[in-house]
Symmetry: C2
Subunit: 131 residues, 2 copies
């Protein structure tokens, strides 16, 4: 397959593009992360979300430790060609490392960030069952 579609993306100076992951079934926003060219190409070829970890400076196959992989349902590009939207099927129904469905679990209410979404699974349990 040609990689012309990758050339149409306006990568940052660091060669990255922001990616939003949305649950294809519920419509909930699951997480936000970054991709480089290789991780986006791998996302398409493998059919599961692969991000670029800026903190670890390496490819990050989402769910490789937790099992909470994200099966690709669709990839969208915005009008400025500089943001990616991934529609995914979230394995286990948990995207956040805190054990919640979504990373966006705090809401601003009366001037404070309050936790409004429950922990579905203890993070210790999530990460000890996988190598």
């Amino acid at each position: 397959m040609t990689e012309a579609w990758l050339d149409e993306i306006r990568w940052t100076d660091e060669g990255l593009v922001p990616a939003i992951a949305q649950d294809a079934e519920t419509g909930n926003i699951l997480m936000f992360a970054w991709m480089n060219r290789e991780s986006l190409a791998l996302t398409v070829s493998e059919g599961y979300a692969v991000y670029w970890s800026r903190s670890r400076n390496k490819l990050w196959r989402k769910g490789e430790e937790s099992g909470h992989r994200q099966k690709l349902a669709g990839i969208y590009l915005d009008c400025d060609e500089d943001v990616i939207l991934l529609m995914v099927e979230q394995m286990g129904g948990i995207a956040c490392h805190t054990g919640r469905e979504s990373c966006f679990y705090r809401q601003l209410l009366d001037g404070k960030w309050l936790t409004v979404k429950p922990v579905l699974k203890n993070p210790k349990t999530i990460y000890q069952n996988h190598e």
Copy 2:
């Protein structure tokens, strides 16, 4: 109101935070933009989305020209405290300057970005009716 909640956000070196706007009714992702401290504070105090335009280097009251303002329905923060999710009521049902509901109107299909969402209103019409 105290601004302690603003201090909890991990701003970039440029003093910005990425913001995702989601339609509160349909769940569709409308757009992605950036905010600085002032624009986020104004978003809350005015009740409508105010972004920071990196290209124009100024506050951007979304919809001030088009009328397509975004009425705030909720603000969420992610687990890393470095991304904002805005739930909004999209005035006119159009967020994109191309006249589409969402900026994410192209989908990767068979290795090409194909337009999959319709123009709801001619952009020329959108911008000529407002000062």
